[in-house]
């Protein structure tokens, strides 16, 4: 049961703290907005991912179960 990281793009204000805490999965574009690696979060990084989710100042980063409806 994989968990995936998602960004609420409207809430995100580009603080960039998530990229500092989880550089393995999150990098920043030229304007400071997160680029998240696709796919489930590796087990050894789940704790760090939870920390990054908690530390986002605007609660834009979310950790959710993988098998949600992704059709768009």
């Amino acid at each position: 049961m994989g968990e995936i990281l998602e960004v609420d793009r409207i809430r995100c204000d580009g603080h960039g703290i998530c990229a500092e805490l989880l550089p393995e999965l999150i990098s920043l574009d030229d304007w400071g907005y997160p680029i998240v690696k696709k796919g489930p979060v590796p087990d050894h990084l789940v704790e760090l991912a939870r920390r990054a989710v908690d530390d986002c100042p605007v609660l834009a980063l979310q950790l959710s179960l993988q098998n949600r409806d992704r059709s768009r």
Binding site: I10, D30, I35, R72
Partner: protein, 401 residues
């Protein structure tokens, strides 16, 4: 012509021409639509039958049908023409959808600038009996490119704010008033109403490949405007229907601002049905077919489109606001042949970073357009980075009399 005409058709004339609306059982109609292969006409091309089935499954009788006639795409005029000429067909489609998915509320979402369409739809609704008038209303969509986006339309109905929202939840799960909502383009609804009367075979067998649709032809043609085509017609047939090309146009924009450029010569025999186009990596989108004038520069044309798309951002997501405006500025510098060093590489890099990182598909559409432009006009872009222009400096196209 099924879908367009010179004046707004009255209810009497509509009934006389087409007969009454059949009472197909919901399951039957959905199956009919699915097997007809009817795809949505708003731009995304999602199968109509499957969409109705999805909403019907979630409905407890209080779903909502939102007939999308916002048509914010500047190059597209088909929806307003359809509503202005065949309002009762659109209403039929919406009523059918409501009955099929279990909706007790119908909203016609009509773009503010489409006056004739709005008048025709209001008049047509007034001709209908009280029980129809009681559960249908017309809302005016604010102008702008994104106000026709699915979640933006729902957001506007709910809160008066026509900006896209974060999904999930999708409208078919929770839309207007938290109820399952079917957001469907007005042309899709009109075609569903015709398929309901005549059966899926009418749709599938009508053209050489099946289906009819509306296109808006513009640019270097003699008679630009909305044209109804039978699928199976080629790009050449469509150009002929539009009075022929004005000059030796080399490039054509297919599908609108979210579409892509293609080479006219190579695609002259392209069958204009969604399946054939997809097989060639193209898309019918919202039916826009824009021929670039032979003396126009592809880079300049692209720069203008990207500048427009950047200005139409809902300004909710950083990557869209900053990325699109940076790309627009760099493309503009290229277009005026005064680029900074590395501008072309920068555009490529930023375009790669932009896709999928907005709450809606607005930045994605810009990426698709830009990538197809850089492929179609590859030589022009390279020359512009060297501060030269192929079209202006040494016209390699010769106008054919």
């Amino acid at each position: 012509m099924e879908l367009i005409g010179p004046i707004a058709e009255s209810l009497a004339s509509h009934r006389q021409r087409l007969g009454p609306l059949l009472a197909l059982a919901s399951g039957e109609l959905i199956a009919e639509l699915e097997s007809s292969g009817l795809l949505g006409r708003g731009g995304a091309g999602f199968p109509v039958g499957r969409k109705w089935r999805t909403v019907a499954q979630r409905s407890s009788g209080h779903a909502v049908v939102l007939a999308n006639g916002a048509e914010g795409e500047p190059l597209s005029h088909k929806d307003r023409s359809l509503m202005a000429a065949r309002p009762h067909l659109v209403i039929d489609g919406a009523l059918l959808a409501a009955r099929t998915v279990g909706a007790d509320d119908i909203i016609f979402y009509i773009g503010m600038e489409h006056r004739a369409a709005d008048a025709a739809m209001r008049h047509a609704l007034a001709e209908r009996p009280a029980d129809v008038r009681g559960r249908a209303r017309i809302l005016t969509a604010p102008p702008g490119y994104v106000s026709g986006e699915e979640s933006a339309a729902v957001h506007f109905v709910n809160a008066g704010d026509a900006r896209p929202t974060t999904t999930p939840p999708r409208p078919f799960d929770r839309g207007v008033g938290g109820r399952p909502t079917l957001v469907q383009n007005v042309e899709s609804l009109a075609l569903a109403a015709l398929i309901a009367r005549r059966g899926r075979d009418w749709y599938v067998d009508r053209g050489r490949r099946g289906g009819v649709g509306l296109t808006t032809v513009s640019g270097a043609v003699n008679h630009p405007g909305v044209h109804e085509i039978a699928y199976g017609s080629t790009l050449g047939d469509l150009a002929a229907a539009a009075g022929g090309l004005r000059g030796d146009s080399q490039a054509v924009l297919l599908g609108g601002y979210f579409g892509g450029w293609a080479e006219v010569d190579a695609q002259w025999g392209l069958p204009m049905d969604p399946g054939s186009m997809r097989a060639r990596g193209l898309a019918i989108g919202c039916g826009v077919v824009h021929f670039l004038a032979p003396d126009s520069c592809g880079v300049e044309a692209t720069a203008r489109i990207v500048a427009y798309l950047a200005s139409q951002s809902a300004r909710q997501c950083g990557p869209c606001v900053f990325g699109l405006s940076a790309i627009a500025a760099a493309t503009q510098r290229l277009a005026t042949r005064s680029p900074h060093a590395g501008d072309l590489d920068r555009i490529v890099r930023w375009t790669g970073q932009l896709a999928g990182r907005g709450a809606c598909h607005h930045p994605d559409g810009a990426v698709v357009l830009l990538r197809s432009a850089m492929q179609q006009f590859a030589d022009d872009f390279t020359e512009h980075q060297r501060r030269r222009c192929l079209t202006v400096s040494s016209p390699r196209r010769v106008a054919v009399a």
